[in-house]
Symmetry: C2
Subunit: 425 residues, 2 copies
């Protein structure tokens, strides 16, 4: 197939008729499919069922340091859960504090605390700052952006590149003392799938920030979530920050949500001892401790890093299949010059850029054919994609057959929207 841009008016009309016919066939099927949600399907969750099948008599309710996990207490998590996270992420146990079932909630909580009381080094609570800004790497994770929007930050977009955020831009922006932080998904980034290069991590650790209380929100959500070949290597930002004396800059998040159960996993925040000390005075008022029994469930199931790795290999096979299906569909767009997409080896998303000005149209066409996509613009601050071009494709939730059908329809609608645009329909 030739590039659409090289087609004659006649050829475009012919192609349009063909694609429209195909689209109408899909439409007549009365489908109800969903490519919008970065969540596992129930079959994938079955892989983690052993976590729920073990009876827990009294003697198995105690942590390795003798704490009765059924009772109150232990704000920062049981030692074996810290160890599991440390092994999983290659960071020190002393930086880790274990939370509840949601890292997103820990992020919200961390920012809410900063708003109310400031962070270590703040001159005043962030809610007292007249102007405050936040860097959003785009396309990025809509829930991150909404959070800082809710807290009243002015959101500054910085484009994602294959090696991470455009660091020249970031380094320039952080010279503004009202810029308080940046959202980062450093590995298998949501939605681009890219992993930050060593240089990017080093520059983030080393950069000169005008705000004394600048924070990097390091959401390492997909640390062990590769599904193709070798896992990407992400440089440890703590090690780099230690070298630069900027350790307090890092708030590091992760969870087992997409390892075991999104609704019943374990989350963590890691930060310097100085940061953790600062936080603990508030945390002690806030809670008597998170669910330690669920921590025990996880450490009983994942006896060591090897067990975790083996588990992730099984997930990889399962998830990889859905990505293969998606990419083999998208390959049918090759050569048409109307779309580009990522071919990630990890994470939960394929990042699809369609012809500028047609993303919303694709969304609508998909919706009318019964396939839900992530809302266009969701991957940008304030929900606005300036190019109307970016679509986040999430193939994990539907079954394999559903992914196959939904992505076939996607290919059809991407073509249709482009043809409509060329033909000014």
């Amino acid at each position: 197939m030739k590039k659409y841009s090289n087609l004659s008016a006649m050829e475009l009309s012919l192609e349009y008729e063909n694609v429209l016919k195909q689209y109408n066939e899909y439409k007549s099927m009365g489908l109800k499919l969903d490519l919008s949600r970065g969540k596992p399907n129930s079959d994938q969750l079955d892989i983690s069922l052993p976590l729920l099948s073990e009876a827990r008599p009294r003697e198995k309710c105690f942590s390795i340091n003798g704490v009765d996990c059924r009772n109150y207490g232990v704000l920062d998590g049981i030692p074996e859960m810290k160890q599991l996270f440390a092994d999983m992420l290659g960071i020190k146990t002393e930086y880790i504090t274990v939370g509840g079932n949601s890292s997103l909630q820990l992020m919200y909580d961390t920012l809410a605390r900063a708003m109310l009381f400031g962070v270590l080094g703040s001159r005043r609570p962030w809610c007292k700052e007249e102007v405050k800004k936040w860097i959003c790497v785009t396309p990025g994770y809509d829930r991150h952006f909404k959070m800082t929007e809710l807290f009243g930050f002015e959101l500054i977009s910085v484009p994602m590149t294959p090696t991470g955020p455009d660091m020249d831009m970031v380094e320039a922006i952080v010279k503004d003392p009202t810029v308080k932080g940046i959202w980062c998904v450093p590995k298998y980034s949501n939605p681009s799938g890219n992993t930050y290069s060593d240089e990017t991590v080093r520059r983030l650790a080393a950069m000169e920030c005008a705000a004394p209380d600048f924070r990097i929100m390091w959401d390492n959500a997909y640390a062990v979530h590769n599904f193709k070949g070798e896992c990407d290597e992400l440089l440890d930002i703590f090690t780099e920050a230690e070298k630069c004396g900027t350790l307090d800059r890092i708030f590091y998040f992760a969870s087992t949500s997409k390892i075991t159960f999104p609704g019943g996993g374990v989350a963590m925040l890691a930060a310097s001892s100085a940061n953790l000390n600062h936080i603990s005075q508030f945390l002690g008022v806030q809670t008597i401790g998170y669910d330690k029994l669920n921590q025990l469930r996880h450490t009983t199931y994942f006896k060591n890093k090897e067990a975790l790795d083996n588990h992730m290999k099984i997930l990889a096979e399962f998830i990889g299949r859905k990505f293969d299906i998606t990419l083999s569909a998208l390959n049918k767009l090759k050569g048409l010059d109307i779309a580009e997409w990522s071919e990630p080896s990890g994470g939960y998303f394929v990042n699809l850029n369609v012809m500028p000005g047609t993303a919303k149209r694709v969304y609508k066409l998909m919706q009318e054919a019964g396939v839900t996509l992530t809302a266009v613009g969701a991957t940008y601050p304030y929900g606005v994609d300036p190019m109307d071009s970016n679509l986040r494709i999430a193939p994990t939730y539907p079954t394999d057959d559903e992914v196959a059908l939904a992505t076939e329809i996607l290919v059809c609608t991407v073509k249709l929207a482009a043809l409509e645009s060329y033909l000014n329909k």
Copy 2:
């Protein structure tokens, strides 16, 4: 034994020598006991072990409305967990939103949200109020007081009476528009053990508050926690508030922490639909949902209200024994006119008022004999008991034998401190 106040100097000296001798014997035992913590001991927690012994295959991972509880989603909890709380508390399911493992955390979260965004009816976020005040019923729960202190409220003490807070005072105080709320533990109150009378509940619902965004933080922590005879009856504040058109005034909290596992229970917030709607816009940014698997564990174990009642009867026997031991020790102080104490039929505490000016001394004597008490003043705002008289006794955590010994020592130190005071030692 005569009242100490009626003893001659000689008699006082003699009694002092006797009590001191006994105290020194206790001291020489090198004990390490703890009456400070309102938490169950491990034997009590064993009663709830069936909750952890059931395997959960895939087909048992779904809520009654078909939600896969292992996955993301459902911000407000599964229907059967709402029903369990509704049955337990006698409130409507539509008011209920289920949280994580800690009602304290829901309270913090509710206040943090009010600070950052205000509540329904607020003219501005509470953090923007130059002066803001909060009513604390004393003696009361230290963690409540610390929370409002942390958020910068000026704390106003109102004394607890056998029927609840002194309502004449409360009604006068809420005429001040800077007074934003009140902490209430309405049933088996911490630490007095009293339950609010019908009249108190009605007056709280009906009172005229100058602040348009006044809130009652209704912490019904001990709703089903009686251990002697019939359960106290607490009037439903929602029903009363509905009649008065003040429904939005109520934030109602409860949990299963002291029913099943303090570290792995389920908590809830109940509020009017208008309040819940207002909150949901923030909650949706804050989390993708709490742990629904733990909700399922609870509703599997407590199939209905009857199962819950039976469970509480077993706990009552267990806990009641520790209170019997405590009260039979305290009875040895009867007639001496140096102490008064509550004889609760539910909750987790005995409230002990010793001779004014001697509570800190009792604490110190106990500490030196190896028995930890709750810090004196903890039950008052800012940690200061103006009379130096109130001690919160928590008999649930130690074993029966330990409670017996620790309360014997308590009786001895209460006498000793009083005698020291009479003799100006």
